[in-house]
Symmetry: C2
Subunit: 516 residues, 2 copies
């Protein structure tokens, strides 16, 4: 049964309401977002009280959100407040008023809580196992250590980009002395964090508007071919370069930076310097961006309430199944095409030599290859690719997403080529594309009648003589499958540089071994 939940996140600068529609643990999608700038911290100074005008703006927004939830019939509402309310002496009385007006039970998050939920969002957004998550906002920055895929030790530091511009650099061109003061402050804040150091195998994930915008700028400078930041990797050299240049520029000059969010022209220089210091201290050489954060983390705690931990065991698998389910496209046919594709992949291992990560991408493409069919049948392979590319698929990098989309695009016709997405690909990826597409294509046509009549394939490979026989193990009349599959061998044949022939075999039941 589908449920709906609203999550409200009242930050120092912005408040957002999001609504998810979901079946617990099974599928979800975001159906609504309302964002309002309330500048709750405005005029508050250091550790002082929320001001009357700011309170009024925030109350007003909360009343709107309450009205919105009522009118949509959503009674499951989680409201969280973070550093502005936490730091204010009158935060309690502000929340009491919100409670009285709306009937919600507002959650005032500690710095630890904030770090925890942000990390949950990031872990379920990019799939980190070992390393750290940084959530750098306007006021504070949280650093969370992640071990075994779960969030652990957390610290909250006063390193928000807005606050650093406020206290050190100002909003326009900065003086060198100011940059020196900021650098000293950053070093002093980070010095105690002996545990925040890269170990072998660790990764660093970051979230929040500042790092997303640094990534967008980096993408614009590199003609990045996709419109997504989740999973994007920003290298240290690029951040150090931005950190070294932006403080010297006036706001007007910064506004000309391609990819810059105009609302951040006054704080991006501080954010870049903060990230440069974080990288220098921790010794990481790159940052992976997470699009998801606090609100998503709060949602996952609910969505995954049935599990020991609110973190996906297998994020990539869940993302694919979630998208398929949202398009009513997780049926028997997709699963069987996937099964056949993976049988080919495994049995042809000696011929292609591709690693397990490619197998996983082939799995994803198999599950999603028909997802575009309701847009229009004739070009549904293109529509599947469009939907995959634009859906984001948490857990996959842009490069991987591009590969999955291309495999779906070429699952029924055309000569597989990376086109504009090729800039994301290694030589190995370029080689893998037609091989994987050839396997998916053949499997699609072996499942032409959508009846699973070809239960399995058995490959007889003779590499020395450049020859491959594929035996189709049939549990019935597979005429149409053999007919169509036999005219769709060319992609695989060319990609593997093998002579391929299909031979009709008989399915003898589940005891049949598929390994030779």
């Amino acid at each position: 049964m589908s449920q709906r939940i609203a999550i409200i996140d009242l930050g120092s600068n912005t408040t957002r309401l999001v609504v998810y529609e979901y079946e617990p643990g099974r599928r979800f999608h975001l159906v609504e977002e309302v964002r309002e700038v309330v500048r709750l911290r405005e005029g508050m100074g250091n550790g002082m009280a929320l001001r009357a005008a700011a309170i009024e703006r925030a109350q007003q927004a909360m009343r709107m959100f309450a009205s919105f939830c009522r009118s949509q019939g959503i009674d499951d509402v989680i409201m969280t407040a973070t550093s502005a309310v936490r730091d204010a002496r009158n935060g309690d009385s502000f929340l009491a008023r919100v409670r009285a007006e709306t009937g919600w039970e507002p959650r005032l998050l500690s710095g630890e809580d904030e770090g925890y939920y942000g990390a949950l969002g990031a872990l379920n957004g990019v799939g980190l196992r070992e390393g750290f998550v940084i959530d750098l906002g306007g006021g504070s920055a949280q650093i969370v250590e992640v071990r075994g895929g779960l969030p652990g030790r957390t610290v909250s530091l006063p390193l928000g980009a807005l606050r650093l511009s406020d206290l050190f650099l100002g909003y326009d061109r900065a003086k060198l002395a100011a940059v020196d003061s900021l650098s000293a402050f950053l070093a002093e804040q980070l010095a105690p964090l002996e545990w925040f150091r890269a170990r072998p195998g660790d990764s660093l994930v970051a979230l929040g508007g500042t790092v997303r915008n640094l990534a967008r700028i980096d993408q614009a400078a590199n003609n990045f071919p996709l419109d997504m930041v989740n999973g994007y990797e920003l290298v240290a050299a690029s951040i150090v370069d931005m950190a070294g240049r932006y403080w010297r520029m006036s706001q007007k000059e910064r506004l000309r930076i391609a990819g810059l969010d105009v609302d951040r022209a006054d704080i991006i220089q501080s954010g870049a310097l903060a990230y440069a210091a974080l990288l220098e201290h921790s010794g990481f050489e790159r940052i992976t961006i997470s699009q998801q954060g606090l609100r998503e983390g709060v949602f996952y705690q609910r969505f995954l309430a049935g599990q020991p931990q609110p973190v996906f065991d297998d994020l990539r698998q869940f993302s694919v199944l979630n998208l398929a389910r949202n398009f009513d496209c997780d049926g028997v046919h997709s699963r069987h095409v996937t099964t056949l594709s993976l049988q080919l992949f495994d049995q042809l291992q000696p011929a292609h030599g591709l690693g397990a990560s490619y197998r996983q991408l082939l799995w994803a493409a198999g599950m999603l290859h028909d997802i575009g069919i309701r847009v229009d049948f004739y070009y549904h392979h293109h529509h599947s690719a469009y939907i995959i590319q634009n859906s984001g698929l948490p857990g996959y990098s842009p490069r991987e997403l591009a590969m999955i989309a291309l495999l779906a695009q070429y699952h029924r016709k055309g000569n597989p080529k990376a086109g504009g997405l090729g800039t994301l690909f290694s030589d190995e990826d370029q080689r893998a594309l037609p091989i994987l597409a050839g396997m998916l294509r053949l499997s699609e046509f072996l499942e032409r009648g959508r009846s699973q009549v070809v239960r399995a394939v058995r490959c007889h490979l003779d590499l020395a003589n450049g020859w491959l026989q594929i035996e189709t193990l049939e549990a019935g009349d597979a005429r149409i499958e053999l007919w169509d599959a036999s005219r769709n061998l060319d992609v695989l044949q060319r990609a593997l540089d093998l002579q391929v022939e299909l031979v009709s075999g008989v399915w003898l039941g589940e005891q049949e071994s598929l390994t030779q």
Copy 2:
């Protein structure tokens, strides 16, 4: 309840199987197509018998199709055969064998039947009321008169493109004498058709691979920005130009024509000359292309069986509702946004002066504006536009489809602009885009809480002073709607060059008159 039907069309050159999933009269979509080239007419000559090899190929394909239907559990199968079987002396015995092997009851279509079903496909594809439909295939061409939106008088002539190449021009560069003979033959065939003449208000619609390909070539030469031919208008001058040039070219030269389907390099010259003669005889100045034909016509007869005639009363309305239903997006919210948009359109008529055809496009955009939401929420306006553009929407021209897509694209943010689609637009269209987008945007935000709390709007217009007040008639707490709508007035304000203000009013029930 969803049903499935398979339709098989055995032509002179190709046979196709299509499968539709549908709820009678309510919604359908194509879920499968299998195409095979069987060259059934090969070696048959004039009025002779189907040859053994051709029969074997066709039988083989029919066995495949039968196996396909069985394995998918489809027992509702309609098989039709056209001119090759009709003209053959042994057609009956061929069909008897198909019947025995498959259990189907094959329908041998007469020239009239063939014209009728092709016309049904075309009428339900582009929405013709008065005029003619031409279906020019490989062997024959059908001309059907359409009056009051229904197919009437029909003739079938031996003017198929393949046959004309065969009998007159050959497949490569032609001689002038051959063209003269062909022209004389065309004139002789058309001369008796006194009734096939353009009357005022008549349109000419054409279908089949030849005219679709002429359209694709015309689009390529004009940098047409969409990938669709349905509803495309091909002007006589362009056809005359192609007819005058292609027969002088070798096949190799023709293969360099941008947009040419390589399978047609040997017959396109004959098709172009046939169309030029058809236009000259009938006096039409343009042809509207229908993507749909015979198979679709057969399907519509089943789909619309509950109606007096198997033609949509309102094709454009049906197309929009069908797409919305296929994406589970025909809910109360979309309908209410549409209602509010149309109230604005009607009441602001003195301010914008746009005609009823724009009102219809606004209706369509209102119904479809959220259709992309399952791809991804944040850019769902873009995804809606993508789906609309690629779904085709029978009954709308490419220009209209572009307008609907753009309105959906700008329904929540951005400054409406036609971009690459602008080449399809008139000056009036360019003016209409931001006006309509402004109305849709305002309506979307007046329905922000998706609760229909703003039941209606009442416009108080003071053109002399450049001033407009919009009263929102509310049946409850419409705080969030007014809040969000008031910050989304800018597009409408700029487009109409009016000072716009929103005022909160009260809904007094259905007796409330919405006209001032």
